[in-house]
Symmetry: C2
Subunit: 398 residues, 2 copies
C-alpha cells in the first residue's frame, strides 16, 4: 500500500445528537494529545489522583474505589455484575428496555439465577413489583436497575428501590451510563452500592472508559468471594490495587489507557467547573424544549410522562415516514446524527440525545428546524416551523 | 473546586524506553483529535474497514476476524483464552516469564485444566518439553506461547511449536504484545490460529486497544461452544458481528472507542508506510547497538544469547547499584523512562524498550550516555563513554 493511495483520515464534523457519543469540548480533545506517559510515571499518578477525586465529586460519593474501568460502558456493566455475582447467587434485575436485557444476559453468564422484573418498554419499574420479586427469593445478592434507559428515554426513580434493597439485604447496583453528568446521580445519599457509567455520554469525553464506583461493603464482598472473578481484566480486587489511594502502593495490573485518562480528567474538570446543579438544569431546560418542540409537531414521545430523560428523548417515527431515510437526510444535509430504535423498536423510534457538550440551545433549534423541514418534504402533514417555535418559546420562558 | 485551583494537565515530555507505552508519532497524536463520530456513522465504517485491512497487513494474515479489541493488551489475552477455553478443556501454556504466568491465571479462571510448561526465566521453551506435555494429555484444546516475553526480553521461536500444535490437534495461540510491528509476526505462514497484541508497544499508538486476529477454524470453535463465553464484553461471536466485513451487516455491540481507533488506524498506516521489513531491520539494528553498548559497559544481558528481543532488552542491575535511584535519576535528569524487574526480578533488572517510534539511534545513544554517566556517579566502575562508543560503532557498521 503506497503512502499516496492510502485512505486519508478526515472525518466530517458531525453534530452528535444520537445515543452517544456526544460532541466533546476542545479542551478535552486537546488533552488527548498531551505528552504520553508510562503507567508508573509519577506525573501520571497525580493525573490518576485528580481523576479519582473529580470522579468522586461527579458521582457524589466518598467511595475509595472510584476510578475508570479500561473499557466502554458495557465493560463497566460487566465489572459491576461480574465482581459481585457468583454462581448460584440470585440477582433481581429491572428490565424495561434494551440495557436492562443486557444486564440480564451478563448476569446469567456469571452463573447467577436472574429474576427479571419486567415493565413495558417506555414505563418505569414500580417498587411494588420489585418488592414482590425480592420477597419471593430466599436471599437476593444484588438488585440492579438502569437509571437512564438509553433505548426508551425513561428516567427510573431510585429512592424506593434503594430502600427495598437495604430491607432485603441486597447490594444496590445502578447503571448511570446515560445520566452521569446530565441528571443527578447521588451515590452516597441515595444508598447506591455499585454504580458505573460511560465516558462518552453526558461527560462528553470520547468513548473508551467506564467510570466506576463501589462502596466498602461491596468491595469486601469481592475480597471474600468463594470463586475468583471469571474476568481477570475486570477483577476489582486487582484493579483497585493499581487505582489505589497512595501512589507508593500502586501495583501494576494492566497498562492504563493513558490518553483516554487525560481526556476523562479534563472532561470531569469541565463538569465540575460548570457545577453539577447548573449542568443538570441546562440538561433539563434543553431536553424540555426539545420535547415541547416535538410534541408541538404532533409527534408522540415514547417515555411515560413525568419520567422522561432530558438527556435522551425517544419519539415515535410518525406513520408513513421512512425512519432510515430521515436519519440519512439529517446526516447528509445537516450533519446531525440521531439514533434509531433498538431491538423490537427498530424502525419505530428516533432517539435524540442532548448530552453534555451536545446539550445546547442551538442544537435544539437546529434539529427541530431540520426535522420540520424534512418531515414536511417527506409528506408528513406538519407546519414545518411549529416545532422550532415551540422550543424557542420554552427556552425563553425558563 | 474552583477553576483556578484545579490541577493543570501538563505532562512532561518523556522519552519512553520502558516496557511500553512507546512514544507516538505526531500523526498518530493528531488523529485522536479528528472529529468524533458515532459508532454507526458511515464514515466511521470506512475507518473500521481501513483499520481491519491495515491490521491484516501487519499481522500478515487473510483472517476475516481481524480487529482491535476495546481494551488493553491484557483484554486481548483474555479474549484469546476466554473465547476458546471451556470448563474442562486442557490448555498447554509455555511459562518462562511474567506474561506466561498471566496466561495461566486467565486460562485457569476459564475453568480450563492448565498444563504449565516451564522454562527458567530468560530462556526459551524447548519444543521437546512442549511435545511431552502435549503427548501426556488425551486431548489438548490450545497451546499458548508468548513470542516476546516483556518481563525477560526473550524471543520465543514458534515454528516447531506450531508444527506440534497441528500434530496434536490443538489451536495455536501466540501473544505478540511486544513484537507486533517490531519483530516479524507472520500469522498465516507460521500457522498461528489466534494472535493478539497491544496498541502501545511496537505499533506506537497510545494504550487502550488490543489488535486481535483468529482464523476461521478458531472462530468456528467459538460458535459451537457448549457454554457461552463468560465475558459478554469480549465474546468474539458478538464482536465479530460489529467488526464484520460488509458495513451494511454491522450489528451494534458496544460503543467503539472511536478516537482510539483513529489513532490505531494512523499508527498502522505509519507501520505499513515504513514497510514491515524495513521496520523489523530498524528494530534489530537499534536493539543490537543498545545490547552492544550495555555489554561493553560490563553489564549482563538477561536473555539467552541468540534469543534476545530487539524491542525489549533486559539487563541485570550491577551489584552495588541502587535500581530505583538510577531509574529515578534517568527520569528526573534525562526524562528517560525505563522499566524495572517484574515479579521475582524486582530490583534486579532494568528493562529497556526500543519499540516503534522510540526505536531510534538518538535514543540508543542518549540512553547509553546517560546510563554511563549515572553508573559512574553511583560508584559502579566503568569508563562512562564505553557504552555509547560501542553502540555508535555497531550502528555505523550495520
Amino acid at each position: 500500500m503506497s503512502e499516496l493511495s492510502r485512505f486519508n483520515l478526515n472525518p466530517p464534523n458531525r453534530i452528535l445528537m444520537g445515543p452517544g457519543p456526544s460532541n466533546i469540548p476542545p479542551r478535552v480533545q486537546s488533552a488527548m494529545t498531551a505528552p504520553l506517559l508510562g503507567y508508573f510515571d509519577p506525573y501520571f499518578f497525580t493525573v490518576m489522583d485528580g481523576t479519582m477525586s473529580l470522579l468522586r465529586s461527579v458521582f457524589q460519593t466518598k467511595n475509595k474505589l472510584t476510578f475508570p474501568i479500561s473499557g466502554t460502558g458495557s465493560a463497566g456493566m460487566e465489572a459491576g455484575l461480574g465482581n459481585f455475582l457468583e454462581p448460584g447467587d440470585v440477582a433481581v434485575i429491572g428490565v424495561n428496555g434494551f440495557f436492562g436485557e443486557r444486564m440480564v444476559e451478563i448476569a446469567s453468564r456469571c452463573g447467577a439465577k436472574v429474576v427479571r422484573v419486567v415493565a413495558e418498554w417506555g414505563k418505569t419499574i414500580a417498587p411494588e413489583v420489585l418488592e414482590s420479586a425480592l420477597k419471593a427469593e430466599k436471599k437476593v445478592k444484588l438488585l440492579a436497575l438502569v437509571q437512564a434507559e438509553t433505548s426508551t428515554g425513561v428516567l427510573q426513580p431510585l429512592t424506593e428501590a434503594s430502600r427495598l434493597a437495604k430491607k432485603y439485604g441486597a447490594l444496590f447496583l445502578v447503571d448511570t451510563v446515560t445520566s452521569l453528568g446530565g441528571h443527578e446521580v447521588a451515590v452516597d445519599e441515595w444508598g447506591i452500592d455499585i454504580c458505573y457509567s460511560a465516558s462518552q455520554k453526558c461527560l462528553s469525553c470520547p468513548p473508551g472508559l467506564a467510570p466506576f464506583t463501589a462502596n466498602d461493603a461491596a468491595l469486601t464482598m469481592v475480597q471474600t468471594r468463594k470463586h475468583k472473578v471469571s474476568s481477570w481484566y475486570l477483577d476489582l480486587s486487582l484493579l483497585s490495587a493499581y487505582w489505589s489511594e497512595g501512589a507508593s502502593a500502586r501495583v501494576y495490573h494492566h497498562t492504563a489507557p493513558v490518553c483516554m485518562v487525560y481526556a476523562l480528567y479534563e472532561a470531569l474538570a469541565v463538569v465540575v467547573a460548570e457545577g453539577l446543579d447548573a449542568r443538570y438544569q441546562r440538561h433539563l431546560r434543553n431536553g424540555a424544549a426539545l420535547q415541547a418542540g416535538l410534541e408541538a409537531m404532533g409527534l408522540t414521545l415514547f417515555a411515560e410522562k413525568g419520567y422522561r430523560l432530558a438527556t435522551l428523548t425517544a419519539v415515535r417515527v410518525p406513520p408513513g415516514v421512512n425512519d432510515a431515510r430521515v436519519r440519512q437526510r439529517l446526516l447528509n444535509e445537516f450533519n446531525i446524527e440521531i439514533g434509531g430504535g433498538l431491538g423490537a423498536l427498530k424502525g419505530q423510534l428516533w432517539r435524540i440525545g442532548l448530552m453534555g457538550h451536545s446539550s445546547t440551545e442551538q442544537n435544539v433549534l437546529l434539529f427541530l428546524y431540520a426535522l420540520g423541514k424534512l418531515l414536511a418534504e417527506e409528506g408528513y402533514k406538519v407546519e414545518p416551523e411549529v416545532g422550532v417555535a415551540a422550543a424557542a418559546q420554552a427556552l425563553r420562558k425558563k
